[in-house]
Symmetry: C2
Subunit: 193 residues, 2 copies
Amino acid sequence: MQRKTDKTGPSEKILNTAFECLSTRGYAAVTMRNIADEAGVALGQVTYYYKSKENLFLEVINMMIHQYLSEIEQKLESATGKKQKFTALMAFFKELLQVNPSLFRLFIDFTAQALWIPSFREKVNSLFERLAEIIEKNLMLNADKSSWKSDYSPRSVAKLILGALYGTSIQLMLSSDSDVSFEPLDLAESLLE
Amino acid sequence: MQRKTDKTGPSEKILNTAFECLSTRGYAAVTMRNIADEAGVALGQVTYYYKSKENLFLEVINMMIHQYLSEIEQKLESATGKKQKFTALMAFFKELLQVNPSLFRLFIDFTAQALWIPSFREKVNSLFERLAEIIEKNLMLNADKSSWKSDYSPRSVAKLILGALYGTSIQLMLSSDSDVSFEPLDLAESLLE
DNA sequence: TATTATTTGGTACGTACGTACGAACTAATT
DNA sequence: AATTAGTTCGTACGTACGTACCAAATAATA
């Protein structure tokens, strides 16, 4: 959940600032000038290193994908056993909602943009696919044919789990802060143990 | 799935055109002038009937909420028996994805906006809450304590189901058109029968 | 019919946007 | 040291935006 803060150059600084602006203010409200100002560079620098706005934001998505995937993969692989892996998966989403909600907001924002912008769609879709792949590999290894998963591919099961986590998390983010309970997520966990 | 096309006045015409623009081009790409032009009225008319852009789009959300809820409620109540109600619920989402994907895209778009704009958040959250309420009332009537739902409130179960449908549908919309299969949705249906 | 009230449509204001461009400056190479 | 390549920054262009405003037209009211 920790972004790289390496200041190896203005290029990284711009990218990190772009991420920061997007995750705190939202896609629709962020401009190239905002990013340049907050990064402490001139506007021309932004278009110098990243050709266009769309391209810059695509790079932000790439950064997010890399971090999301490596973090969740690490947490899942460090857990041993099916049950613990499930717990780790739920803990990841819970932590996301509690510790870093702005990151998840940005994820949702990009998902919405992906419905209209083909280049975004490609990126976000691959993120979902790879998340489903991780879930599948970590939780579906011993696909016991006796259970409810019998008739469906492990990938479909993974997509359903991922969808449930995603959709439930959105509802939790939207609900008023006072009555935030993770009961639906806990339920999902108990369902699949 | 059918919008009202009553042309009782310019007010309704503007609202319907706003919906049309939003659902086909997306939130970020629609302007007041677009709506005015496509509705065949002057720009001043839009601000005359709807004070601001935000207010106009809020009215569009209201329209969507009304239609979504009445349609899904009608379909669920016309079905008899738990199993048939589940089937009807899944059929609603499948039909949404196949017949009217732009409506669902707009729903997702508004959800993303709701994370940043408080007035939107209120509306979209109430839509989710009322959807969960409908699911709860139609499918959780005889909450048998012996099943897996025992320890959790019916509302949490409903939210999990709704989240799974929402999250899975998004993945289906994002995936490339060639390999669209409703397997995850079918799986969800079989899971809960 | 006279008068108000409501509606229509056109115009203009102020602002902000992404992008392009080109001088100055620095670093690297020969 | 000379020349080239890479980088920084300010500025400006063209466009588009939401909103405000107001005269003209229409409808409603008396």
